[in-house]
C-alpha cells in the first residue's frame, strides 16, 4: 500500500538515459520545461510529445509504471481540467444550470491536462533513471558557483541526500508500525475524521521516536568518521561529461529553439 507510491523512485537500469550524467539530466529537465511552456500550436505540442516519447522509450521504463506514478496526481489533473473547462470565456457549446462549456474551454482544458502530464512525466524521467545520490551530486556541482556568494551548497546537498536516503526507510517503517498496530486491533479505516486522526497517534509516536533515534545514530556515525562539511573533501566518483551528454544537451537546446521559432512564426 504505502510502498506502492512510486513518485520520485529510482528504477535501476543501464540504458543510455540511465548512463547520462545527472547534470545533463537536470539541465534537460529545465530545457524541457522551458520548451513545454513556450510550445504553442499542434506541431509544437506534437514535437514535445514525441521528444518525451523517445526519451521514455530509450529508458525502457514501462509505460505502466509511469501511469501508476501518475495515479496519486489524478485529482489535481482532473481539477485543473474541470476549472479550465468551465471558466474559460468564449463560444458556448453546451449550457446547463449555471455552467457553460465553451469551445475555448475544451481546448484549454485538454491543453492544460496535456501540459501537466508532460511536465510530470518529464520529471519522472529524471527521478526514475537517476539514483538519489547521483542526483544530489549533480545538483551540488551545478550549484557550485553559488558558493561564491556564501550559499552552503555542500551542506544543502548533504541534507538533501540524507533526506532522500531516509524516505524509503521511513515508508517501510510506517508500513511495519501500521501492521503491528493493526495486529493489536487498531482501525485506521473507519470512524469520524476525529477518530481517524486519533488513530494516527499509535503510528506517529513510534515513527518520530525511531526517526529521532536514527538521526542520532547517523550523527554519531558521521562524527566518528570526522565529517566536517565540504571543505577539502574529494569524491569517489567524479562526474564527467561524455559525448552522449553533449549530444543530448544540443538536442535539448534545439528543442527549445524550435519551440520559440514555431511560436514566433505562429503555426
Amino acid at each position: 500500500m504505502l510502498k506502492d507510491i512510486t513518485l520520485g523512485q529510482y528504477f535501476p537500469g543501464s540504458t543510455v538515459v540511465h548512463r547520462l550524467d545527472p547534470r545533463t539530466k537536470l539541465l534537460m529537465v529545465i530545457l524541457f520545461i522551458v520548451a513545454l511552456f513556450t510550445a504553442e500550436g499542434p506541431i509544437a505540442y506534437l514535437t514535445v510529445f514525441l521528444f518525451l516519447g523517445v526519451a521514455v522509450g530509450l529508458s525502457r521504463i514501462p509505460p505502466r509504471t509511469i501511469l501508476k506514478g501518475l495515479k496519486p496526481l489524478v485529482v489535481i489533473i482532473c481539477l485543473t481540467g474541470l476549472l479550465n473547462l468551465f471558466y474559460t470565456p468564449g463560444t458556448p457549446v453546451v449550457k446547463f444550470w449555471v455552467l457553460t462549456i465553451t469551445q475555448e474551454g475544451i481546448f484549454s482544458a485538454l491543453f492544460m491536462i496535456w501540459r501537466i502530464l508532460m511536465l510530470i512525466t518529464g520529471t519522472f524521467m529524471l527521478t526514475y533513471t537517476t539514483s538519489p545520490i547521483a542526483l544530489t551530486d549533480g545538483l551540488e556541482l551545478l550549484l557550485n558557483p553559488l558558493k561564491r556568494i556564501k550559499v552552503p551548497v555542500h551542506e544543502l546537498a548533504m541534507m538533501m541526500s540524507i533526506a532522500l536516503r531516509f524516505i524509503p526507510t521511513l515508508i517501510e517503517e510506517t508500513d511495519k508500525i501500521m501492521s503491528a498496530q493493526k495486529a493489536r486491533g487498531a482501525d485506521f479505516e473507519t470512524g469520524s475524521i476525529l477518530q481517524r486522526a486519533k488513530a494516527l497517534i499509535p503510528i506517529l509516536v513510534p515513527l518520530f521516536v525511531s526517526a529521532l533515534r536514527r538521526a542520532d545514530e547517523l550523527a554519531v556515525a558521521m562524527e566518528c568518521r570526522c565529517y566536517q562539511g565540504g571543505k577539502g573533501r574529494t569524491r569517489m566518483k567524479r562526474l564527467r561529461f561524455a559525448g552522449r551528454d553533449y549530444i543530448t544537451l544540443v538536442l535539448g537546446v534545439l528543442l527549445v529553439a524550435a519551440m520559440i521559432v514555431l511560436r514566433v512564426v505562429g503555426i
Binding site: 509504471t65 501508476k68 511495519k176 493493526k182 486491533g185 487498531a186 513510534p206 521516536v209
Partner: protein
C-alpha cells in the same frame, strides 16, 4: 483433531506490476493444532515474516486460503477484524511500536480495541503483565524509560493481553542477552500452558527451537522445504546446511561421533538428550 489454523496453497507476491515484483510465498501448506508449539525456521528472506502476516489477516494472499477453525478468514470484513484478536502477532523488534504514556496504557491498547469494559481491560492488563514478569510498579512508568529487554516484554504483554488462541512471535528473542532470552521463552511457555494456546515461533536459533517446539516448519525460497518433529528435521543436517541453516551444536557433535565410529544416534538435539545418550554409551561399554 481439527487444526485451529491452516493455510492451503498460500501464495503471495509483492510489488505486482512494478519492476520489483517478487514471489515471496509459493503454495505454502501449513497447519497447527490447538495447544501445539510450532517453530518456523528459514534463512533471511525465505518468507517467514511474510507468511505469519497472512495468519492474522494483515496481508491478503495472492492466491490460496487461510483458514481459522475451518473458516476462511477473508470471508467477510468483520471476521477478518475479529481474527486479529484470536491470532495474536508479535512483530520482530516489537518494542519499536510502544507509544503510550504508561506501560499500563500500552498493554491496554489491544484489549481496548476489542471493545471490552474497563474492568475486564484492567484484569487482562494485570494478567498479561504477570505472564511477562512485570512488576505492578512498572505499570505506571513510561515505556520509553525501560531497558530493551523490559520493553520487549511490555510489547509481548500488549499482544498477550488480547488473550489470543494462537500466539505468533517473530524472533521474540532477537537482540536479547541469554538471560533475557530464557525469560522471554519461559513467559511464552507460561502463556501457552495457562491458556492452552497454540504458539508459532519464528527463530534463527536452532538450540532455542530444539528445546521448545513440538513440530517444526523449515522454509526455503518461499516454500515449505521440510516439516516434522525436531528429531526428524535435525536428522537431515546436510540439507539444512545447504539451505544456509545450522543444526544444534550437540547434533553436529553426535553426527561427528557417529562418523568416528561410535554407536550413537545422531538425531539427538538437546543437551539433556546428549547427556543421556553418552551415559548410555558409557554404561554399555
Amino acid at each position: 483433531m481439527e487444526p485451529i489454523i491452516e493455510t492451503k496453497q498460500l501464495c503471495h507476491a509483492y510489488g505486482v506490476g512494478t519492476p520489483f515484483e517478487r514471489h515471496a510465498l509459493q503454495s505454502v501448506d501449513f497447519y497447527a493444532n490447538p495447544g501445539e508449539f510450532i517453530g518456523l525456521i528459514g534463512h533471511t528472506g525465505s518468507g517467514k515474516s511474510t507468511f505469519i502476516q497472512h495468519l492474522d489477516g494483515l496481508l491478503r494472499p495472492s492466491s490460496g486460503q487461510v483458514l481459522f477453525r475451518g473458516e476462511d478468514i477473508w470471508k467477510d470484513k468483520q471476521f477478518t477484524h475479529q481474527i486479529r484478536f484470536k491470532v495474536g502477532l508479535v512483530f520482530q523488534y516489537p518494542e519499536y511500536q510502544l507509544f503510550e504514556e504508561t506501560v499500563f496504557a500500552d498493554i491496554a491498547f489491544g484489549p481496548k480495541n476489542m471493545g471490552l469494559d474497563e474492568e475486564e481491560v484492567r484484569r487482562r492488563v494485570l494478567r498479561a503483565a504477570g505472564f511477562v514478569g512485570l512488576e505492578e510498579s512498572d505499570l505506571d512508568r513510561s515505556p520509553f524509560d525501560l531497558s530493551g529487554g523490559q520493553k520487549r516484554r511490555v510489547a509481548i504483554a500488549g499482544v498477550i493481553a488480547m488473550e489470543p488462541d494462537v500466539l505468533i512471535l517473530d524472533e521474540p528473542t532477537a537482540g536479547l542477552d541469554p538471560n533475557a532470552r530464557e525469560i522471554v521463552l519461559q513467559n511464552i511457555r507460561d502463556y501457552q500452558r495457562a491458556q492452552n494456546a497454540t504458539i508459532l515461533m519464528v527463530s534463527h536459533s536452532m538450540e532455542e527451537v530444539a528445546a521448545n517446539v513440538d513440530r517444526l516448519y523449515v522454509m526455503n525460497h518461499g516454500t515449505v522445504a521440510m516439516t516434522g518433529t525436531p528429531r526428524e528435521i535435525f536428522a537431515h543436517a546436510q540439507e539444512l546446511t545447504e539451505m544456509g541453516l545450522d543444526v544444534p551444536v550437540v547434533t553436529t557433535i553426535f553426527h561427528r561421533l557417529q562418523e568416528l565410529g561410535f554407536d550413537v544416534d545422531p538425531s539427538v538435539y538437546t543437551v539433556e538428550q546428549a547427556v543421556a545418550a553418552l551415559e548410555a554409551l558409557r554404561g554399555g561399554a
